[in-house]
């Protein structure tokens, strides 16, 4: 078993994990950044732009990913899953498995020839199943590291990738590698999932292809998205009428997510503004209960969206059905005026889903989590990044829903707390 000694193990490499790793490493401490996916970057690298500045998400995240990959104090461990965490007298023992990519990582030159010749098309999870990829492929354009992964469960073992590889680096017999990481401190930055598309049965999101998730819309809006343009997934039509259904996956006890996810109003407004830029003739409507624009510059952003002609309709969407052409039909009930329920047809509907924790089981670490599965702080007001276990800190959405600026601030807080903790225990041992 490979053994690694470091100061801080950061679990999860979304924007919170990237920021925390860089802050700890810049302070002169050794970091292991552990990521279960083949690339670092998390959710943020797949977003189109960020609110309220409308900066390109990829342009912000990519330099941080590059900085992490080149930092002398950061050991970037991608495609690696933590299986067990044990607390001991000196800190923590993390037992992880580095999954096989079936390539020689040191030799690969990222030429993509293996991907070109592979005859097996599979769903592209990075594009949320909107387009295909090959059974051997680099996860996405700006993935770090730029290394392909062979999905052995989908490989037909034709040998084409191995025969074409100019560096002869395909290794079908590569095995998973066990790694023992010894760390003084752990930072949890495991991020979020979104509520499932079928959480609200009345919205029929699984059976109506033109009812999509906000992350799918992010990909449609992204410059390197699956179709290069915003079109309907069912038939490629350029949508003339797009609707957002707010609180479609949060503030609802019936689906187990009674809390507000804090970002849905703003990402819906952001996407609506981007849509009005890319599809100037389209009508865009946001059906909402109330708009929560609480951050710096958010209210102005909301006002700007209204001024751009985006329709904000205070109404509850009772159900969604589809007409014969697959266009979603929304049954809405206005919240402000007394009127009968109406049925309104749109070309495309986005369900503004909420955030739920990506990880709830911390593999032997007796972390206190709240009733919704987020990691609890020991003191929410004065020491939010400290968990119930000394030496374990939490940041980003693993602690609760938050936007990107709050996540960055949170990651900095966790990094400083981890560094101070290490200083305190090293001081004691001297």
């Amino acid at each position: 078993m490979k053994e690694i000694n470091i100061d801080v193990a950061v679990i999860g490499s979304g924007i919170a994990g990237l920021e925390a790793s860089l802050d700890v490493a810049d302070a002169g401490y050794k970091v292991a950044l552990i990521e279960k996916s083949p690339s670092i970057g998390g959710r943020m690298i797949s977003l189109s732009k960020v609110f309220p500045t409308l900066d390109c998400a990829s342009c912000i995240t990519t330099p941080k990913m590059a900085a992490v990959s080149h930092h002398p104090f950061i050991n970037m461990m991608t495609y690696t899953e933590v299986r067990e965490i044990k607390k001991n007298d000196d800190g923590f023992d993390l037992y992880a498995i580095k999954k096989p990519r079936y390539i020689n990582e040191g030799e690969c030159i990222s030429c993509k020839k293996c991907e070109e010749v592979c005859p097996v098309y599979i769903e592209d999870d990075f594009e949320h199943e909107l387009s295909p990829k090959k059974a051997i492929s680099i996860p996405f354009t700006n993935a770090v590291p730029q290394l392909p992964v062979l999905d052995m469960n989908k490989c037909i073992r034709c040998g084409a990738c191995a025969r074409i590889c100019p560096k002869d680096c395909i290794d079908y017999l590569q095995k998973a590698e066990e790694i023992h990481i010894k760390a003084h401190s752990v930072i949890i930055s495991t991020g979020y999932d979104i509520t499932p598309m079928n959480a609200k049965k009345e919205y029929n999101a699984i059976s109506i292809p033109n009812v999509i998730s906000p992350l799918q819309m992010e990909r449609l809006l992204a410059p390197h998205g699956p179709y290069g343009k915003v079109i309907r997934p069912s038939d490629g039509k350029i949508p003339e009428s797009i609707a957002y259904v707010q609180c479609a996956g949060s503030r609802d006890k019936s689906i187990g997510v009674p809390y507000c996810s804090r970002v849905c109003c703003m990402y819906a407004i952001k996407q609506a503004m981007l849509l009005s830029g890319s599809l100037p003739l389209a009508d865009i409507t946001i059906y909402y209960m109330d708009i929560r624009a609480f951050g710096k510059g958010y209210e102005e952003f909301y006002s700007e969206a209204r001024a751009m002609g985006i329709n904000f309709v205070k109404a509850k969407v009772a159900r969604i059905t589809a007409d014969e052409k697959g266009s979603p039909v929304l049954r809405i009930e206005h919240q402000e005026e007394a009127s009968k329920p109406k049925e309104i047809k749109h070309d495309l509907v986005v369900l503004s889903q909420g955030m739920i924790p990506a990880v709830r089981d911390f593999l032997g670490l007796d972390l206190e989590i709240n009733e919704y599965g987020f990691v609890s702080s020991r003191d929410k007001t004065l020491n939010p990044s400290q968990t119930n276990i000394d030496g374990v800190f939490v940041c980003g959405v693993a602690r609760g829903p938050k936007d990107i600026p709050d996540t960055i601030a949170d990651a900095g807080s966790a990094a400083v707390s981890a560094v101070n903790y290490i200083k305190s225990i090293k001081g004691k041992s001297l």
Partner: protein
């Protein structure tokens, strides 16, 4: 030298088959069928650009599947999208060099 490499690849694949069992028939059939569908869609747009509804009518494929395939053909450089301001996007096969 090339045959040494081919032999090594063949040997590796044989060991792999022994270790984890042969590739399932379902996967082989899926792969063959998917490639046939990709070819059908590509052939459909070789002569003139078409939109997804036209390709769907011609190939008998579900329009959602046609779009998925076209996204793959564009990604791997075999087809291109023709800009359209409204209605349906059109696609055509790229000329083979």
């Amino acid at each position: 030298m090339g045959s040494d490499r081919d032999n090594r690849i063949k040997q590796q694949l044989e060991i792999l088959n022994d270790e984890i069992g042969p590739v399932s028939r379902t996967l082989i059939d899926y792969s063959a069928k998917t490639n046939r569908l990709f070819n059908n869609v590509l052939n459909s747009i070789k002569v003139e650009p078409k939109d997804i509804v036209q390709i769907s009518d011609e190939t008998g494929l579900d329009s959602k599947k046609v779009l998925w395939i076209l996204a793959g053909l564009v990604k791997y450089g075999k087809a291109e999208q023709i800009s359209n301001k409204s209605g349906y996007m059109k696609y055509r096969a790229k000329q083979e060099k």
